[in-house]
Amino acid sequence: MAAILPLTMPKFGLAMTEGMVAAWQKQPGETIRQGEEIADIETSKITSAYESPVSGKLRRQVLEAGMMAPVGALIGVVADDAVPDADIDAFVADFQSRFAASQAEAGAAAAGPERVETAQGTAQVLAAGPAEAPVILFIHGFGGDLNNWMFLQPALAERFRTIALDLPGHGGSTKQVSAPDAAGLAGFVLAAMDALGISAAHLVGHSMGGAVALAMAEASAERVLSLSLISPAGLGPEINRGYIEGFIEARRGKHLTPLLQSLFADPTLVGQDMVETVLRYKRLDGVEAALRAIASAQFPDGRQAASLRAVLDTPRTPAQVIWGRRDAIIPAAHAENLPAHVRVTLFDEAGHMAQMERPADTAERIASLAGGGI
């Protein structure tokens, strides 16, 4: 009997519990190839393309465009022409009843973020993956938080102990920023590693988090196993001043939306809920003062204050730089003229957020530098 293959609601990030088919890119009867974009999936935070995990003929769109379903729910069916419609009906009915049963059983929610007391205040972290595995530590950028890694942390958590952390002044961490420069934030991350009992980690830093990772390597090279820097600060003087200042000032969705859109090569990725989430973060007591302190320490007068390029000169720490060519915040040109041992990856169709726009490729490169594939 020919195989019937289910297409199910994907899970973009640990926090995603349900999603909506925003639009189908393939119609029933069309042949699809593995890796081809077959639908746009919208979550409360972002819209992203769903790449088919299988090849074959799309026989059924089970979930209509505009409908919500939990992660793992049947959204479509792939099977070749030999399979009669009745068999597909039976497959769908069987899948639905088993899925409903498993949903009822699976009361156990995935672990959420937790707060850790460090020598430098409370740090919020989201951990996933085997406890004994090598550690990958994610450091977000200015105004970001640990959810910035939601598309690639689950993939990396299969083989690594992954920890995404909120910097001070961000997310659920302390809003007191005693030392707002890159070295100061590096000290906070090292304190969080102490509190978590982590002696050394593979660091993944995005944007300002890249400069923080570089500062950690400068201060405590023995605690840094590798450096994967995504559109990092610290490698050149230019930075989009309008973005930094606008982000601090924005109090309304209509002011914040275009700024968040400028982070991505494809602005349609930014959903209303993403904007609302950022606005809610910015309203928390202490956030505006923290952002201002960090911006004036690291990006005074719209320029990057410190260059950390020299950290990459010595080849003792494996390092790579990943950049979207359409980055409108920090120019991809900062990836040029790096020492030969530094791997450089440039994505054509990505902006400042390669970890969200090209999550699978970015995760693959992080894993490859940290040892092995995923």
Binding site: G172, K175, R251, R252, G253, Q272, R280, R283, L284, D285
Partner: protein, 342 residues
């Protein structure tokens, strides 16, 4: 972050501001409870338990049970605000506000102006409002239009637990008298509310939903009804913006006008009595300032001009709901547009 009820969100806002600022005191009828009686201290936490637990944390000196004399303790709160405290007075039901109008309208609201800007009155009056609670006509009114009418007062109507916490913190930090309206049917509504303190600025509307065909403006509990209506209408192919102004004074009229210029149609949903309410006020201002943008007559969804009925069937029929809002939206869509008429 965790799920909190409307009641918990308000309690947390009070606790965090009392923690942050020793000048914040709360007062009202049985807001602790048990005073001078045998048995449990802090027995009540107000008539619906919103302030329960605060006396244990902050003591009777900052959680003041008052006699049943609104004119007395609202006047005392206004005076205390003038002298440097930041009192939050709970006036159980807004329906009882009539007995202390002088203290509010002619005293608290006027101090800053009458003293040439040299005095501030950081007073918050929390009060319950709204129908649907089977509490009959003396405990069910929506009297925020009366307070919106008075220059010198700020008027806040939170529409969800998240909104309630951030707007109450802003109210306590504000230097002017604020009347804070809590819909009594919403106390058990839950949603994600940050554990940390945060303030939502006054006079900035929330775009609950953005659409292209019709703008719906709604207040308090009606925001939920409007969102339900918009959800249902989306399935019919009608796309609605839902705007929650958050505060009726100050009112974010620019956001409403901006939306009306995009959609050309306006439906106003107001649980208050239909004469001289927020719907008529906004309707007049939009007609004056954006008449040229309107493709159809403005529609208003409000209860009939009667006391709130006690009979459950009548009360249910009285309160605006999603079906009535959707019907009003459909009516604006049917009205011939000017383009079609030309």
């Amino acid at each position: 972050m965790s799920k909190k009820s409307f009641r918990q969100a308000i309690n947390e806002a009070l606790a965090q501001e009392m923690e942050r600022d020793p000048r914040v005191v709360i007062m009202g009828e049985d807001i602790a409870g048990g005073l001078g009686a045998p048995g449990e201290d802090d027995a009540w936490g107000g008539v619906l338990g919103v302030t329960k637990g605060l006396m244990g944390k902050f003591g009777r000196e900052r959680v003041l049970d008052t006699p049943i004399t609104e004119s007395g303790f609202i006047g005392a709160a206004a005076g205390a605000a003038l002298r440097g405290l930041r009192p939050v007075a709970e006036l159980m039901f807004v329906d009882f506000m009539g007995v202390c109008f002088d203290q509010i309208f002619n005293q608290a609201a006027k101090f800053r102006y009458m003293f040439g800007g040299k005095a501030t009155t950081p007073l918050v009056i929390r009060t319950m409002f709204g129908a649907g609670f089977r509490a009959a006509s003396q405990h069910s009114q929506c009297l925020y239009p009366i307070f919106t009418h008075i220059p010198g007062l700020k008027v806040v109507i939170p529409s969800s637990p998240y909104e309630a916490k951030g707007l109450l913190i802003q109210a306590i930090r504000d230097d002017d008298p604020v009347v804070f309206f809590e819909h009594k049917v919403m106390y058990d509504v839950e949603e994600e509310v940050p554990d940390e303190p945060y303030a939502i600025p006054f006079g900035e509307a929330r775009f609950v939903r953005e659409g292209e065909d019709v703008t719906i403006v709604a207040f308090g509990r009606m925001v939920t009804m409007a969102s339900q209506a918009a959800e249902a209408l989306a399935k019919e192919g009608v796309s609605c913006s839902v705007i929650d102004p958050r505060t009726t004074s100050p009112l974010d009229l620019p956001s409403i006008l901006e939306s009306v210029r995009e959609t050309g149609r306006l439906v106003l949903v107001d649980e208050a009595s239909p004469r001289c309410n927020l719907a008529t006020d906004i309707s007049a201002q939009v007609a004056e300032q954006a008449f040229d943008a309107l493709k159809a007559p403005i529609r208003m969804v409000s209860p009939p001009h009667t006391p709130v009925p006690f009979a459950p069937a009548l009360e249910d029929e009285f309160v605006p709901n999603a079906e009535k809002i959707a019907a009003a939206v459909r009516a604006t869509m049917r009205a011939p547009s000017k383009q079609a008429a030309e």
